[in-house]
């Protein structure tokens, strides 16, 4: 998704108030943006705390900064700067984290972002956006650029099937109808699951929903209708359960008196074996790889 991000941001380069900061990352990806922005492309060095504070300062001069790094480096290292300098003041700084979840695979735990949106959503005014499909990225950039407050864009990989007509971006989308459980997915995994579910028996397969914006502020009527139909909510996300979309959704449903009879949550579990590998390896260890999920989902019966 990083190259798509770059292209979409290059399209905004003519806006004199658009500024981009990177924590010395983006090699072989962001060069077109660097060339398009000139002095408004700022390599802030390996100094993420200062990078966030600088971005906050830039907003006081009327600029709209976007700040980029590998996901854990952009939210965890400068967490207090995000909390105090951005969120307390509700400043329009957009954080972009590349490689959400296990995206950096065998690079190891320091490079994974398993708790990023949970941690960030504990902060005042912060909003989180998780594109699931390639075309979501430019749509979200357009949306974020007009947000008056801080936001975090969590980028993943492109996993969607090429031959499937995807609906345009929306915070909540039903991608597939089905007679099975109500499946809600956050992030790129939705693409791999879609590829496996699209050809399955529509009476048995789950209805597939994609959620791309957090925190959850309202529950669409169509989603609640679908949940009443199935009685089983099945949430998948590449994030630890604490602070996850699944927890937020469960809270929202309980508060609304709309809790389903069954709730299944498949999420990141850290490093169960203590071993490291590709994103695929880590997903499989946590039971959130497409193969494991599809096998379970297509056998699950409506209660």
């Amino acid at each position: 998704m990083r190259n798509i991000l770059c292209r979409a941001l290059v399209d905004r380069a003519a806006d004199p108030d658009f500024v981009f900061l990177t924590g010395d990352l983006g090699y072989k990806a962001l060069e077109p943006l660097r060339d398009a922005l000139g002095p408004r492309f700022i390599n802030a060095g390996v100094a993420e705390q200062n990078m966030i504070a600088v971005a906050a300062g830039l907003t006081r001069i009327g600029l709209r900064p976007w700040v980029y790094s590998i996901a854990p480096f952009v939210y965890a290292r400068p967490f207090e700067q995000i909390r105090n300098d951005l969120c307390l003041h509700n400043l329009p700084v957009k954080l972009v984290g590349n490689g959400g979840g296990y995206g950096y695979g065998v690079m190891g735990g320091t490079h994974h972002a398993l708790e990023d949106y949970g941690a960030l959503l504990s902060l005042l005014n912060m909003r989180v956006f998780v594109p699931a499909f390639a075309d979501d990225v430019p749509a979200l950039i357009e949306k974020l650029d007009h947000l008056a407050g801080p936001a975090y864009l969590r980028l993943g990989s492109v996993e969607e099937p090429k031959d499937f007509a995807l609906p345009a971006y929306a915070p909540w989308r039903r991608i597939l109808d089905g007679g099975g459980p109500t499946l809600l997915v956050v992030g790129s995994l939705a693409g791999s699951l879609l590829a496996g579910l699209a050809g399955a028996d529509a009476r048995q397969r789950p209805s597939l929903w994609v959620l791309a914006e957090l925190p959850i502020t309202d529950l669409p009527a169509a989603f609640l209708d679908d949940l009443r139909r199935s009685g089983h909510l099945y949430v998948v996300e590449e994030h630890v359960p604490r602070g996850s979309a699944g927890q937020m959704l469960a809270h929202q449903l309980l508060t609304a008196g709309a809790a389903p009879r069954r709730f299944t949550h498949r999420a990141a579990q850290g490093y169960p074996s203590g071993r490291y590998g590709s994103q695929k390896f880590h997903r499989r260890e946590c039971g959130i790889d497409p193969e494991t999920l599809l096998a379970e989902l297509l056998q699950v019966e409506v209660v």
Partner: protein
Amino acid sequence: MPEVSLIHATIRRARLRLLQMHFESGVGHIGGNLSALDTLLCLYHQVLQADDAFILSKGHAAGALYVTLWTCGQLQDEDLQQFHQDGTRLSGHPPPHGIPGILFATGSLGHGLGLATGMALGKKLKAEPGRVFCLMSDGEWDEGANWEAIIFARQHNLDNLTFIVDANGLQGWGTTQEIANLEPLAEKFRAFGLVTDEIDGHDPAALIATLRREPGGPRAIIARTVKGHGISFMEHKMEWHYLPLTAPLYEQAVREVTERCAISSAEPS
């Protein structure tokens, strides 16, 4: 400089109001407010121009900033009477909203310089006039984010950025030398490529002249100050970071400020 004799009267008035505010609210942080007050008053009354900006990084000197804004007419007596009270705009550290002229909430140390650096860069990018000033503590230089900021400021040649270190030599639980000795600080700043001055932070003439000078690069001013300046029982005492004033001590402090400032204002400028 005629402005120096004027500032002495403002300093006296501000010190007395600061003591009154802290006494009435029953809160501490007086020592570091008194070390920073002269710098703030010189900045606000003699240096800052319409296009300039100021950030207080040592947020625990909020009292001194509020009183300085009061001397400028930006806060009123009724505001200062609400200092530290329930429902106040004037929290113990500068708030994010609600007080014109306060650009950022500060209080966790090591934030203000990065914020000021961002503003200075923004002015450069937009070709806007004006300088950005930031007042910091010396203990604050334990924070790594400040060193990130000066590397960045030098790299981008932010000659519209000036920070002042209120070097009173005391931090949270001891002297700066005992806890994390960074001296000689001026040499370190110069090694990072900053234009650096070291002055008496209670000498208004030196403060005004140095703050007004064209920087020629990102600028550091180490203002050597005294914690609890002007109050005999507070000077150089770490505990006055924390202690509130009792009634007898408040009366003694007022007497000392009144007598000392009477002498200062009579000195030739």
